[in-house]
């Protein structure tokens, strides 16, 4: 009996190796190492939104809107979990028509899910949770453009609908068996699905809502730094977790993420140092880091260190220009630069993925390795996302606007949304 057990140990090990590589392998088996990393990644990505993004945004608004800004992220975490459970996950990740636009309803309300169901080598339950954290942060990112004036009620309805009719289809097209995926568009961890998607939605919303009555300077740069740090750390779960395994791909994704982020942070800092007020600001460094994180996101499973270096450099320069120059030049009130950093950084990253992709890393060559066509594919992904998300965001907010006022009243805005919408104040 003991011997049999020992043979089994051997068998287990043998088996784990054979299943993954064997050509005619049956359904993959659960790998505890991969599962451990994906459980961890899920925690890391949730940490990015609460409290990460909440603080990053919260520190940049005025003091009388801190509670409001924190509440948005927290409420979204709760509500999107429910919409994801109800149908978002199913519509995004269950196979629909190949090359189509939306998934199937086979996992609506998670029907039939069990502890034995797997997605590649991890439990499907973990995959559900991991993907959920992406849906959450995408929606939460949007709020940055509309803080200090959006009605909390309107936001509640807006994000409930948006998480289903915009996020799920875009995720399906890129990561499910949908159109862009079938086409060969590369988006490792969400350049299009998360950043372009939220960034364009943010721009549309802030145009619909109009400008704030008054702009005040960031009330708590400390919170912003804590938030940026948690985003940075959590992003390891975002990008390296997108390998859905604890392997060499995850490792390389972590490495390029770290490098691009550092380069972008340093770049933004140096630009500020050498221009403008001649001072390197903490908000600038944090913004640069986030820009780098955004731009490397679609590329993180496809490029190597030198690609990451250039992507970081480009992100620092481009996002500085779109946030600090373009916005003021044009004059829309994208309060916390969701468009400038996430949409523009996402587009930049999507395109540069097509440039720097290395076949030996992610299986697809980029323009530098001769596959110039990839850039075109990337552009298709960018444009489709911009158009679909932009138009649908407009439709959804207009529909919500039929039922409830989407903007805080002038009095509420002056008083601060903390008191007006939540009945709470920071002393």
């Amino acid at each position: 009996m003991k011997i049999f057990n020992r043979l089994l140990i051997l068998a287990v090990v043998l088996f784990q190796t054979t299943t993954v590589f064997a050509a005619d392998a049956p359904k993959p088996v659960l790998n505890p190492g991969d599962t451990a990393w994906m459980l961890t990644s899920t925690a890391l990505v949730l940490l990015m939104t609460i409290p990460g993004l909440a603080l990053f945004y919260g520190g940049l608004v005025g003091k009388k809107n801190l509670v409001s800004t924190l509440s948005q992220s927290f409420m979204i975490t709760a509500v999107v979990t429910i919409t994801w459970y109800v149908c978002g996950y199913s519509l995004a990740f269950m196979d629909g028509a190949k090359g189509g636009f939306i998934g199937s309803t086979s996992r609506v309300l998670l029907k039939g899910i069990g502890i034995g169901d797997l997605n590649t080598t991890i439990p499907e339950t973990v995959f559900f949770c991991y993907q959920l954290t992406f849906a959450i942060i995408t929606v939460a990112l949007i709020c940055g453009s509309i803080v200090e004036r959006i009605s909390f009620k309107a936001l509640f309805f807006f994000i409930t609908i948006w998480s289903i009719v915009v996020y799920a289809p875009v995720a399906h097209m890129v990561w499910g068996n949908g159109y862009l995926n079938t086409l060969g568009v590369l988006d490792y961890a969400g350049g299009t699905v998360v950043h372009i998607n939220s960034g364009i939605a943010a721009l549309v919303l802030c145009l619909v809502l109009g400008k704030r009555k008054a702009k005040v300077k960031p009330h708590n740069v400390g919170y912003t730094m804590i938030g940026a740090s948690l985003l940075w750390v959590g992003w390891f779960g975002f990008n390296a977790g997108s390998a859905v395994a604890a392997n060499g791909n995850a490792g390389m994704a972590m490495l390029v993420t770290q490098l691009a982020t550092a380069v972008a942070a340093a770049t933004w800092m140096i630009i500020e140092w050498l221009t403008g007020e001649n001072k390197p600001s903490l908000v600038g460094m944090c913004s640069g880091a986030v820009a780098g994180l955004v731009a490397i996101t679609p590329a993180s499973g496809f490029v190597g260190p030198s690609g990451a270096f250039f992507i970081g450099l480009a992100a620092g320069i481009v996002c500085y220009l779109t946030s600090a120059k373009l916005k003021n030049a044009i004059g829309y009130d994208d309060a916390l630069d969701v468009f400038g950093v996430h949409c523009c950084g996402g587009i930049l990253g999507a395109i540069l993925t097509g440039v720097f992709a290395v076949k030996a890393i992610g299986g697809t060559a980029g323009a530098l390795e001769g596959n110039v066509a990839q850039i075109k594919l990337q552009l298709i992904g960018v444009v489709l996302t911009l158009v679909y998300s932009g138009v649908m965001t407009y439709v959804v907010i207009k529909v919500v606007g039929l039922f409830t006022s989407i903007r805080a009243t002038d009095a509420e805005e002056r008083e601060g949304l903390d008191l007006a919408h939540h009945g709470e104040t920071i002393a």
């Binding site: 005040v216 007020e277 001072k279 120059k325 003021n328």
Partner: protein, 112 residues
């Protein structure tokens, strides 16, 4: 009795306190205020947006004193608060019609 209100640089406040102690002033009320005068504020930049911070941090000291001691108080403050740079601050003097020590109910100079 007089109420002496001095608006000084925050980093000089401690100095002023000590100088007043030396001349026998044993009570003082302090608060954080902001101000500008000759010395103007500054501009901060966040992602390219300018925010004018017009007011500089100052410390306001309020000292109720007998008219007799007034001169000594004014001199002590001036000496201790002065750095010679703009923004050193101002002293305002008003008349007090009454002072009361809450604990004892003492009034007037006895209450100081």
């Amino acid at each position: 009795m007089k109420l002496v209100t001095a608006v000084v640089k925050p980093e000089q406040a401690d100095n002023v306190k000590k100088a007043l102690n030396k001349i026998g002033i044993q009570g003082l009320t302090m608060s954080d205020v902001k101000g500008y005068g000759r010395q103007k504020g500054h501009t901060e930049f966040y992602r390219g947006s300018e925010y004018e911070v017009a007011f500089l941090p100052k410390t306001k000291l309020e000292i109720a004193t007998s008219s007799k001691k007034l001169k000594a108080v004014l001199e002590a403050i001036q000496k201790a608060a002065k750095t010679g740079n703009i923004g050193d601050g101002k002293i305002f003097v008003t008349s007090l019609t009454e002072v009361i020590r809450i604990r004892t109910g003492e009034k007037g100079e006895k209450a100081l």
